[in-house]
């Protein structure tokens, strides 16, 4: 399997994630979509690192994963917060601010 295949895989995952973000009604689902996108990036980085034989490609995902975790935590916190005040986690109900 060449680099190309990994890139394609990551692109597919990335697009799946994006698709999820756009289409899921549930905010939790959307968060999952985001995670998927970020993981696609990691696939990319690692693949490049592997094929180039460069260490940076492996270091980078470590940082990325750490940040992703922080983001996910924050995202879930916000969702919980939202559920407390709004009693819903459906994304399309959240259009108080508009126009």
């Amino acid at each position: 399997m060449g680099l190309q295949a990994y890139l394609v895989l990551s692109a597919v995952v990335f697009c799946l994630g994006l698709f999820g973000v756009i289409t899921r009604r549930n905010t939790i689902g959307i968060l999952l979509g985001v995670e998927l996108m970020l993981n696609a990036v990691n696939i990319n980085l690692v693949a490049f690192g592997r094929f180039r034989g460069d260490l940076a490609g492996l270091v980078f995902p470590v940082f990325a994963i750490a940040i992703t975790v922080a983001e996910a935590a924050l995202g879930l916190a916000i969702v919980i917060l939202l559920f407390r005040v709004r009693r819903t986690v459906m994304a399309d109900h959240l259009d108080l601010l508009r126009g």
Binding site: F14, G17, A56, L74, L82
Partner: protein, 473 residues
């Protein structure tokens, strides 16, 4: 080496220490934290700002990952200055959560600031990404700071969602660039571009989307009005300036400065500038909430700055930096007035300004000055700013863009004048003065002084930004 490390990173280290101190206070002092944290943060920021004055241009750390060139120092001063003004405005915030969770607020703010400061100095994509996220994540927190408010949490979620998706775009783009160049150093990008690898283009495009989100260019601006409307005003004042400034510096580094292939970005930036200016101005017209209005007008201002960037020249960059300064004072000032009025009137609608000139003439005058500065009227900073931008674009021959921008200034003045009409022409609903807390007043006065000062005598600032920018090319 440690000496260089310390001197080069002095502001960042100072900021980090300050953040830790604030956090510790928050941990130790349970319950009502009052304003002491705010004061500490403010004074600390001033100290850090002072330390930036001693920074040496060209100092670098970590094999050139982190470089303090003129641009970076300038940007850091700008960011810190904006932070000070914002703190000044938020010191008197009356919300209960501000008394209880003051340390939390200030820590987040300082963390974000730290991210921005790292971002403007970053010369390595890894650092760049980390700094970018360090800047962004606290902003989501700060947006949702008033936890009990329905709108606030909604805005935080939207900001977060769009923000993380954009971050994903950025890092995805970074991965491609890394893949092509085999390095995370930013310096290698121009060469890769010159080679014409499509993946480089894809990567740069993806990154540009992420940055465009940060600076809120159309159509990546959509979080802006919602967040501005819902978040606390002093924070918004800062949010409207600092991350955008950082974002611009990043764009300048990646797409404009010293890049041999930079002219190839011209059509993109021109297109972004055009649509952003038009959309921002048009969408601001029907707004009835002053913060939303300022949000959209902010989008338009981003468009103007992009016009300057589109010149892809040292004078273009210089003028963008100048614009940022003018925008800092004008925009933050306007938001501070909004805060003052909102606190007294319990409304952020434009109607709340009816007859303000007769109730509090000075406050109205200050608002008028800020609006005029934003609108680009002589003798206040915004005029020179806009003019210089157009000048830079004209030098590049982008007369179409200049003309578009100049004409849209008229549209912008339309909605600014609608506010002016409320303040000056309409009759007041009640006659008592709007009470402005002293510190907030000081923030407003600072901004007004900045706006008028630059407006009357812009030469030193122009010289400064020109010097900073010319080093990049």
């Amino acid at each position: 080496m440690t000496g260089t490390l310390a001197t080069t990173l002095a502001p960042e280290i100072g900021l980090f220490v300050l953040a830790v101190v604030v956090l510790l206070i928050g941990v130790i002092q349970r319950g009502d934290q009052k304003r002491v944290v705010g004061w500490i943060t403010g004074i600390g920021l001033l100290g850090v700002l002072g330390s930036t004055l001693r920074l040496v241009e060209g100092g670098s750390v970590g094999d050139g990952m982190f470089v303090n060139d003129g641009l970076a120092i300038f940007a850091k001063q700008l960011l810190l200055g904006a932070g000070v003004i914002s703190i000044l405005g938020s010191l008197t915030l009356g919300h209960a959560s501000f008394s209880r969770r003051s340390a939390e607020y200030h820590f987040a703010l300082l963390a974000s600031l730290l991210g921005m400061m790292a971002l403007v100095s970053a010369r390595d994509l890894l650092l760049f990404f980390v700094a970018f996220e360090l800047m962004s994540i606290p902003l989501y927190v700060l947006t949702g700071f008033l936890k009990r408010d329905e709108a606030t949490s909604e805005a935080a979620l939207k900001f977060f969602l769009v923000g993380t998706v954009s971050a994903a775009f950025i890092v995805y783009g970074i991965s491609f660039i890394y893949g092509v160049t085999g390095s995370t150093a930013i310096d290698t990008i121009p060469r890769a571009l010159a080679e014409g690898q499509p993946l480089t283009w894809l990567g740069m495009g993806l990154m540009l989307v992420g940055l465009a989100f940060k600076i809120a260019a159309f159509p990546f601006h959509m979080w802006v009005p919602d967040v501005y409307e819902a978040a606390t005003t002093p924070f918004v004042a800062w949010l409207a300036v600092a991350p955008k400034a950082a974002g611009f510096v990043a764009i300048i580094r990646l797409y404009v400065a010293g890049s041999s292939a930079s002219d190839t970005w011209l059509p993109v930036i021109v297109a972004l500038a055009g649509v952003t200016t038009v959309a921002g101005n048009l969408m601001a017209i029907p707004q009835r909430n002053i913060k939303r209005l300022l949000a959209y007008s902010g989008v338009a201002h981003i468009g103007y700055m992009l016009i300057g960037l589109a010149a892809l020249s040292d004078s273009g960059v210089a003028m963008v930096l100048f614009y940022l300064v003018a925008y800092l004072f004008g925009n933050m000032g306007a938001f501070m007035v909004v805060e003052a009025v909102a606190r007294s009137e319990r409304s952020e609608g434009i109607d709340a300004y009816a007859g303000l000139a007769q109730r509090s003439p000075l406050l109205a005058l200050a608002m008028l000055i800020f609006l005029l500065s934003l609108g680009g009227i002589p003798f206040v900073a915004g005029f020179w700013a806009k003019l210089y931008l157009f000048l830079a674009a004209a030098e590049k021959g982008l007369y179409g863009l200049v003309f578009l921008g100049a004409v849209l200034t008229v549209v912008a003045l339309y909605y600014y004048l609608l506010v002016a009409r409320r303040m000056y022409i309409d009759a007041p609903v009640c006659s008592d003065r709007v009470r402005v807390p002293g510190l907030l007043g000081a923030a407003i006065a600072t901004c007004a002084a900045g706006v008028v000062g630059i407006g009357v005598y812009p030469a030193p600032w122009v010289d400064l930004v020109k010097r900073v920018a010319s080093a990049l090319f």
